[in-house]
Subunit: 525 residues, 2 copies
């Protein structure tokens, strides 16, 4: 077994393209494993840990592309590496051809091609994002920075700069927005309507907008402001701006604010701002201390599900309520699943692509005094590095440690598939809880990844005489490109319980864990 | 010389009536001095200090009225006291007759007489005000509490109660408001217009609204919120509510916020609230630390005068700008006055009825490193009790220490007259600076009080070979009941310099003090 590295100088490609390339290389005979990543110090360290770094790779710099392949023994290494090189060359030519023919390579080029543009979506590597964002703001464009790894000092400066020019600066690390009906980043196909959302959490925004869509309520504007907007350093700069604009917006009747717990100062700032807002506001700051929050016309909700319900209550019954996108799971089915679990199989494994949903589950299970390990930053919770197998686990697989050099788990199910196989061999694990984020930008067919994984995991478990419960939180709408009904049907056919809200999902997981389905009787959308 | 007290059991009268009665008694032959006050412990202590308390007065309780008179020697004491008693009895009958025929004595009575009322103005003694305000709020009425001496705990509770019912709770200690064009408390006859004001300072509100009126700009709503609303305990509760309502109000284009320095937390709260307000806001928090305040569309101004100018700038030239109500003082006149002052006459005496104006002057003179004594709570300033004659003095004569048992100096000029005489004998005092607040509720003819006092003070000074400069800040409008042109003309004829803004007044005082009129050349409205 040989490891080889190729380094291509100054050759940036985005992570989705790199995923496609890695998969292509792994199809080649003689290639056991292939990883293609940029030659940053972090990535090189990761390759080294995995035993995939050679001297060629070590010499690579941050702007170089490293192709690390592990070859099957006894093959003709030189011939294989030639084919790898050819494959990369042709893909590079293709990508360049696409770029030069269809895509401007600079903001000014884009503006020349589309002079009426008023927003720049920036998705370059973090270290270049602030520079590009400044350029865009200086040209009078609103900016959405999808990239992460932008320093918080740059974020503060960019947001001040934007405010002084009356522009929005969404992000960095803004995964989701729906502006004037146009979805940006990861977003679902929701109807237009009377609800304005400002969110420091992309998946939180997706969850609430999908739950609202299921009740026939649409979105006027949904503004992702980036995961750090509500830190005390940034002070909610863009959430405040979003509140201001939605309060003035004639098409918005209810304002919804979503975040993981804000900094204590930022939280106060938002609360005081809401004092001068006349439209009803629904606030879901997961884990926020709400004891002091008594503001007329402001509704603090502890979960995304309850936030969506509150909004629906404030808006009244929509004229054209759609029927539920996903049917509620039947209690008889859940009882059957519960009966199938062994006595010792009490542990939950939550494998999340959405950090916010993982966080919500953490709060829920902590309130039930469940013993939890997690990679989420949360007081009194074990680290997943502690090898604490005899606890429940909630893993945010969108965390940097899992996504270095590979695409986000909303696009790339490989790491979750592997984790499912691993957990299936643990005799004390009974319940596997996953989120499936549908919508633009996400994996085109998650069921095609998960159904085989579920089947294989069941095989592994049944070999040891065990069954497994799969709970899938499917966040999407009937209009999403993945066809939610088909996705749900395929997963249901594989024996998974599919629900539209994370609160439902984690409730069912908890009920199965303690073997008491009374906990969830009466659950409905 | 004999001192006599009469005590009338359970006989409350308001301070303005008591002033009228005292003045009536002092007209009677044989009466040298008369003071009529409620028999509270404070008031009794004050009478004792003045040598005006006898055993009869000592026995009086808080609800009793004490009539303290000093009689000329050798008169028929019994006969005089009989006449005093008669005078009180007849005034009491008159006041009761007025009350029973015209005025309901309870909130319910008032509501029965005027069922469409939506606001209760409460001006009972402080210890009863919270109870009456609660009653009014419970009946769905907005409340303006003119009374002071309400505990801050009661204020917090009343304001929360009001917010929960969607009502305004203006005050306690709310001296001024103009609601839907109706002046309440001390307010000027200003035109209706596009400027909405929220103020924790009644005289600040009057100053700004009059300066705006002089430039042809009117008021949509002017809400006094009480002097403590921006303390950290109350947290700007009603200023925030005022901002909310004015931001929604279709008749308001610019929002003006006025206060003495708010608590540090309240200041932050207001600043954050302004982040979500789209209308331009002008903030004059006298003495506030503005270094961190960079909010788009929010203008922080350091003086009331500059705040009014900023508002006018934001509104643009009004269609029907009126000419200045008061002409600017001529430099030749000021030079003449300056030349008349002796070398040693450098000290200023600011005798203010408006605490906010006194505070503004304090800030101005402190910036010039003037050495100041004051009864205002201000860091590094001498107390006026320290007998620090060789400093400038800024005295808020509306302070409790001056108003116990007597009317406010906006109504009653006696204490200021006496102070003018006292200062006229000080060889190092050259400049006497006064505010004259016109408008509803204020003294009907301030010139009739001040012109004789100025003349007498000049006589006293000229006996010692000195002249005196009088600077009068006259806060009013052409439509005020006092006739501002007549007031200004009479004071000008007496040699006083009359200006419409306190910033102008204190600037002139400072320039005269240092003998350098270059400081104010170019001053205009």
């Amino acid at each position: 077994m040989t490891t080889r590295n190729l380094a291509l100088k100054n050759s940036y490609r985005d992570s989705v393209e790199l995923m496609r390339l890695s998969q292509e290389l792994e199809q080649m005979s003689g290639v056991q494993q292939a990883t293609i990543i940029m030659g940053t110090d972090n990535n090189k360290a990761m390759l080294e840990t995995a035993g995939l770094l050679t001297e060629d790779g070590k010499a690579a710099e941050a702007n170089d592309l490293i192709i690390a392949v592990r070859l099957s023994p006894a093959d003709d290494e030189a011939a294989i590496m030639n084919r790898v090189q050819e494959s990369l060359d042709s893909s590079g030519r293709e990508s360049e051809a696409n770029a030069s023919s269809n895509q401007p390579r600079t903001i000014d080029g884009a503006l020349a091609a589309m002079p009426d543009s008023n927003l720049a979506l920036i998705s370059v590597p973090g270290q270049y994002a602030a520079y590009e964002a400044t350029k865009a703001l200086d040209r009078g464009l609103h900016v959405l920075v999808f990239s992460d790894n932008v320093s918080i000092e740059d974020e503060v400066e960019l947001k001040n700069h934007a405010l002084n020019q009356g522009l929005f600066m969404l992000g960095p690390d803004c995964g989701t927005a729906i502006i004037n009906g146009v979805p940006l980043g990861f977003a679902n196909a929701v109807p237009r309507g009377r609800v304005g959302i400002v969110a420091a959490s992309g998946t939180g925004l997706q969850q609430v907008s999908c739950l609202l869509a299921a009740q026939g309520h649409g979105i006027s504007q949904a503004l992702g402001v980036g995961s750090r907007d509500l830190s005390d350093q940034v002070g909610g700069a863009m959430m405040l701006e979003g509140i201001r604009v939605l309060n003035d917006d004639l098409n918005t009747d209810v304002i919804v604010l979503i975040s993981k717990p804000p900094g204590p100062m930022a939280q106060q700032q938002i609360a005081f701002a809401l004092r001068v807002v006349s439209k009803p506001s629904v606030v879901c700051f997961l884990g926020m201390d709400v004891q002091a929050a008594n503001i007329p016309n402001v509704y603090f909700e502890m979960t995304l599900h309850e936030a969506a319900k509150r909004v629906a209550g404030l808006l009244g019954d929509p004229t054209h309520a759609t029927s539920p996108v996903l049917p509620s799971p039947e209690m008889t089915l859940l009882q059957e699943i519960s009966d199938g679990l062994g006595r010792d199989q009490r542990y939950i494994r939550g494998l999340y692509s959405g950090g916010t949903l993982a966080y919500e589950s953490m709060l829920f299970l902590r309130d039930l005094n469940f013993d939890i390990s997690s990679n989420l930053d949360f007081p009194l919770v074990n680290s997943i590095d502690d090898d604490a197998e005899r606890t429940h686990k909630l893993i945010d697989m969108g965390d940097d440690r899992f996504t270095q050099g590979v695409p986000h788990p909303m696009i790339d199910y490989r790491q979750r598939r592997e984790r499912i196989f691993k957990e299936a061999t643990n005799p004390e694990v009974g319940i596997i809880l996953l989120d499936v984020m549908l919508g633009y930008g996400s994996h085109a067919d998650p069921a095609s990844e998960l159904v085989p994984a579920i089947n294989e995991a069941r095989l592994l478990a049944s070999g040891a005489g065990r069954q497994l419960a799969f709970i899938v939180v499917m966040c999407g709408t009937s209009d999403d490109p993945q066809n939610i009904q088909k996705q749900a049907a395929e997963l249901t056919a594989a024996g998974a319980v599919v629900v539209p809200s994370n609160l439902q999902g984690v409730s069912i997981a908890a009920a199965l864990s303690v073997g008491d389905l009374e906990m969830i009787r009466g659950w409905s959308q």
